[in-house]
């Protein structure tokens, strides 16, 4: 169990899964890039508009709902949590995340959604079996089952996140194709950082001739 002081941002999970170095740049070094802020603002804006139409009387929609889990040590907000009315007249939470772009092959988005579900379970003392991701480019909902595998992956990611962010060390970069789509590429310098003797050679080349 974590205390409230230890809670980390739920959204950091997606950064961790994309690239641990990116996660450290954002959350340890606080190296914001300008387009991050603007992008996040825009996402929220679009999301509120797309989901608003969807309230029927068996579904209540909660926007921007604060969440936390002391077990995982995470807190954050869910942009949309639908509350579905059950036959026994209880309300079952159903988290929905809006993502720009298209569905990803990896678990990144599913893990973030699952972490929201785990928070909801802990806060509302219930079981959340399912949620959905809404991809802007496909304009369609993809259902996500919170099965044992996904829960385990999410829990492990939360533990790794705590390990990474309790230290002070930013992991070295590993240059790969994803770097080209990473908004931190200019701060991270994946092609130069971490290489041995690079500055030493540069200095010799520039001054000793």
């Amino acid at each position: 169990m974590y205390t409230e002081d230890d809670l980390l941002m739920l959204s950091a999970l997606q950064h961790l899964l994309f690239c641990p170095r990116q996660c450290a740049l954002i959350h340890l070094e606080q190296a914001w890039t300008e387009n991050r802020f603007t992008a996040e603002g825009r996402v929220l804006h679009e999301r509120v508009h797309t989901a608003g139409a969807d309230s029927r009387c068996t579904v209540r929609v909660e926007y921007d709902m604060p969440l936390r889990s002391l077990r995982l040590g995470l807190s954050g907000r869910a942009d949309i949590v639908e509350m579905h009315l059950q036959e026994d007249s209880s309300w079952l939470p159903f988290p929905v995340e809006y993502k720009r772009g298209r569905p990803k092959k990896d678990d990144t988005d599913r893990v973030q959604l699952c972490a929201q579900a785990l928070c909801l379970e802990e806060m509302l003392d219930c079981t959340v079996p399912e949620g959905a991701l809404y991809y802007g480019q496909k304009k369609r909902r993809t259902p996500v089952q919170f099965d044992d595998r996904l829960r385990r992956v999410t829990e492990e990611a939360a533990a790794r996140l705590h390990e990474l962010l309790s230290g002070t060390v930013t992991p070295a970069p590993e240059y790969s194709r994803r770097c080209e789509s990473c908004s931190f590429i200019d701060t991270c310098l994946p092609r130069t950082a971490g290489k041995k003797n690079q500055v030493r050679n540069y200095m010799t080349r520039m001054t000793q001739s």
């Binding site: 002070t168 930013t170 200019d186 310098l189 950082a193 500055v199 520039m206 000793q208």
Partner: protein
């Protein structure tokens, strides 16, 4: 990456800057003379009696835009800046390393290496371009002397010795600086550095340009989350921006080169300056404007960054160097690579 944007220099006495929506409105005698969107700026520098509304200052702070106030003659007065960026781990690392004298000596070597190499490049280049119009032997000898100093800076040495080498280098370099002036020699000459006050026109230009570079270097350090006050070569002294002074070393020859080209192209004349009773020299309004415009234009020039091997506007080099320094302190690089031009 942080984009290189314009700095707004306000030199009109009595001007007042206010926030109007997302723009800065420059009012002169109650009339709005200029409106600029804030997102096209990365700094505002006010010279002399220029006012600024608190709302504009707050807005600039929020946008990470530094507003500096200088006297009419370019002496720094004060600066308004938004919240310090939250990078406490980086700053603590900086303090820890600054306490380590061996590490500080290593950093100092890097900065001085950059400065001496760039001074040498300036000398060599002037000989190449104007060898027939100046004492190329004296200048060439000075350049060779600097080469010797670079050799000695290639090895580990204590901070005192690095400082000694820096002093030597500056002496040799400035001893031939007068040779680099090839036009208007009766008005523009250089005997030695004088700052308070500058005693000739060349010193007046140099001091003013160094202030501008200093402003840019300090903002860049702040944006990266480094503490501009805690330096390695320049040790702590209240009120002094040690790290900004450190990082400025490699950029000084840039200001020198700009000074020389303004003089040698005849863009500035003797009559653009006022010599006061005590011998102190000041620029007239027109000269100041010429200089600010030239500096501003220079910063837009796109050049190859020698270490990253990427092209970028010169104005962005300040930010890039601050970033590289931060990356070195965080352990991602095996040293700090100063910008070296050849």
């Amino acid at each position: 990456m942080k984009k290189h944007l314009n700095t707004l220099f306000v030199t009109t006495q009595g001007a007042y800057l206010a926030k109007e929506g997302e723009t800065v409105a420059v009012r002169i005698e109650g009339k709005v003379r200029l409106r600029l969107p804030v997102h096209t700026l990365d700094g505002i520098v006010c010279f002399g009696n220029v006012g600024c509304s608190p709302f504009l200052l707050g807005f600039c702070g929020e946008r990470n835009l530094t507003v500096s106030f200088l006297t009419e003659y370019g002496r720094f007065l004060a600066r308004v800046q938004g919240p310090v960026s939250g990078n406490v781990i980086l700053r603590r690392e900086q303090y820890r390393r600054a306490d380590d004298l061996d590490f500080s000596a290593r950093m100092a070597r890097a900065f001085i290496n950059g400065k001496v190499a760039n001074c040498r490049a300036l000398l060599n280049r002037t000989v190449r371009d104007h060898g027939d119009r100046l004492d190329s032997e004296a200048v060439g000898d000075a350049a060779n002397h600097l080469t010797g100093l670079l050799k000695s800076l290639g090895r580990d040495r204590p901070l005192d010795e690095v400082r000694g080498t820096e002093g030597d280098g500056a002496h040799v370099y400035f001893s031939v600086f007068d040779h680099l002036i090839i036009r208007n020699k009766e008005d523009f000459f250089f005997h030695r550095r004088s700052r308070r006050p500058p005693l000739d026109r060349v010193n007046c230009l140099l001091s003013f340009l160094y202030t501008l570079v200093m402003h840019d270097v300090r903002s860049a350090l702040e944006c990266t989350g480094l503490d501009p006050a805690v330096g390695f070569l320049h040790r702590d002294r209240p009120g002094r921006s040690g790290l900004a002074l450190d990082m400025m070393e490699e950029f000084r020859p840039l200001a020198d080169r700009l000074t020389l080209s303004l003089i040698n192209r005849g863009q500035l004349q003797g009559k653009d300056f006022v010599v006061s009773e005590g011998g102190g020299v000041r620029m007239k309004d027109k000269a100041r404007k010429t200089l600010l415009t030239a500096y501003q234009e220079r910063k837009q020039d796109v050049l190859l960054h020698p270490f990253l091997e990427e092209k970028m506007p010169l104005g962005l080099f300040f930010h890039t160097q601050a970033l590289l320094l931060a990356r070195f302190l965080r352990g991602d690089l095996d040293g700090y690579p100063p910008v070296i031009w050849r």
